[in-house]
Amino acid sequence: MNASKHVWIVFKKEVKDIVRDKKTLLTSIFVPMLLIPILSMLVGGSIEDLSRDINENVTIALTQESNTDEIRDIVENQIIKDYPNISLIDTDDPIKAINESKVRVVLDFEKDYASKLAEGKPFAIKLIYDKSQTKSQGSLGILWNAIGDYNDRIVKQRLDSLGVNPEILTPAMIEESNIANEEKTSGSILAVSLPMMLVVLMASGGIAAATDLVAGEKERNTFEPLLTTKPGRSSLLLGKYLAVTLFSFVSVVATMIGAIIGFVIDPSSMGMGVGTDITGFSIQPLAFFMVIVISITLGMTFSGLQIALSSYAKSFKEAQTYMSFLMIIVMIPAFATMLMQPNDIPVYMFLVPVMNTLSAFKIVLGGSINYAYLLMALGSSVVYVVITLCLAATLFKKENVILRS
């Protein structure tokens, strides 16, 4: 029959119709395209700035009592000598200076430090900081290191003067060796952010189209005439369904393009995005192909659900409400599995909707591919496509749902 021709006619018209809607285009192409660059700039940029700031311009001061020439000499010429990023500042009220963020950490030397040092006894250096200030707290570690180095130097001097080799202090040397290859490490950063973003984008990409194509048609009274044209309801449904599916991927593709453009313009700004991680990253073609197919089936599952919700809704507004609910429900597994490591994913997760796609992505991007798991994810995804499509078809053919008035 020419049912497939009818599906194609409906599909073409719906795509044309949606593309002409500026609002839909904005939400499914423009916003996703800017998503990663903006996120990277906001999150990545500020994290980078902060960590740079913490490491640079570490300002310290001495308490009133410790502010003597001898102590200044120890601090400047011994403790912070090898740390050009630390600078000692003169101030009358060091505590006030911390509060005003002029000084990060204040050092207070024990009163009789000099005699203790000479006798070879430990003396105390108190580090005063403000835990509520990120920079103050972050600088603490740098001072720990500086004072640690200073300690090592004194110990070495003391042992030397006793004629002992300082090596006796280090019976066992530790050497680290990371067996994760380059592919695995860069992959696991990807494995955290990419699948989650993909799933959320796919779920959101089709929303505008799905809402418009059934609930919108009902509301604008274009649906009844359409129902009296020759094609059967299944053909109308499939045409609309495919249009929604297309749009759920348009957003994904738009996001990827945005990420790539952002990366090309300014590679450093994309620190937390996918841009930097993609370079030098490779995975097995078959596994890659399988996750692509799995994610397409997830997109189809979302479209089926969204068409079903849009058919069920009494009005455009109601359809929008249902769609936001769906988004929230999708976000939960997306965030819940975000930090899960590829090797720790329980087997059943490869059968749960949404989770199965997320898990498949994780194991493939994380470089620990298991084809049995991938097949489970693929199989269950196909089942969900069929279920949601049947649900949409059932609602679409119910006259009291489709002709509410």
Partner: protein, 243 residues
């Protein structure tokens, strides 16, 4: 051309249409008169295969509405309610062409037909403009053209004049007259007596889902002692309400 046989539709406990039967011959304009909630829309929706009858059936141009809904749909054109139901973001041309395509017309046929209809309805200037940007009257003409793009044998019109201004009502009346001239079979529903008297060959009066009178207008009038159609209507409807 149209044979309706014991057609019924129940929505849960509500009997919207209760076993109505009548025939409409080829080329006839049949008026379905009834108050609000009488079951006019429900009847027309069943004939258009949008609703499945609870019991009974009808044949349209020889096709059964239950067994051959697709064949039925390709032989009907509809105009429902006061809303034109055009796609605002498509041009007039595209709106008409979409329905032509859905009814299996070829591209060449559609092009030819749109040219023809544009001339008939005087809408050549705005054919390529988006439907959403047009005036109500312009939209209505596009809706007429869309309804008959595939040259259907039967036209179903559900209260096509409700909520329209005088000149738009006249356009609808002219459209119905032109359908009759082309030999199309027309059923249209209305609650305006004058409109029915002006346009119809035969009428059916429907009340609470039952067909209480059907026949030639003159015939009916003489049967009730030459009262006006309005008086007859009130009498019939009032009679039934009292029971």
């Amino acid at each position: 051309m149209i044979k309706i046989h014991c057609l019924s539709k129940h929505f849960g406990n509500i009997a919207a249409v209760c076993g109505i039967s009548f025939e409409v011959k080829k080329g006839e304009v049949f008026g379905l008169l009834g108050e609000n909630g009488a079951g006019k829309t429900t009847t027309l929706r069943m004939l258009a295969t949008m609703l499945r009858p609870t019991s009974g059936t009808a044949t349209m141009a020889g096709w059964d509405i239950v067994k051959e809904p697709q064949k039925v749909r390709s032989s009907i054109g509809i105009l429902f309610g006061g809303e034109t139901g055009l796609y605002d973001r498509l041009t007039c041309e595209e709106n008409i062409a979409y329905f032509g395509e859905l009814n299996d017309m070829s591209r060449a046929q559609i092009k030819e037909r749109i040219k023809e209809l544009a001339k008939v309805f005087n809408m050549e200037e705005y054919l390529t403009r988006r439907a959403g940007k047009l005036s109500k009257g312009m939209k209505q003409k596009v809706a007429f053209a869309r309804a008959i793009v595939h040259d259907p044998k039967i036209m179903l019109l559900d209260e096509p004049t409700s909520g329209l201004d005088v000149s738009a009502i006249r356009d609808v009346h002219e459209f119905i007259a032109s359908c009759r001239k082309e030999g199309k079979t027309v059923i249209f529903s209305s609650h305006s007596m004058s409109e029915v008297e002006k346009l119809c060959d035969r009428v059916g009066i429907i009340h609470k889902g039952n067909l209480v009178e059907v026949g030639n207008i003159d015939e009916i009038k003489s049967r009730y002692g030459n009262q006006s159609l309005e008086d007859i209507f009130i009498k019939l409807v009032g009679d039934r309400s009292e029971r």
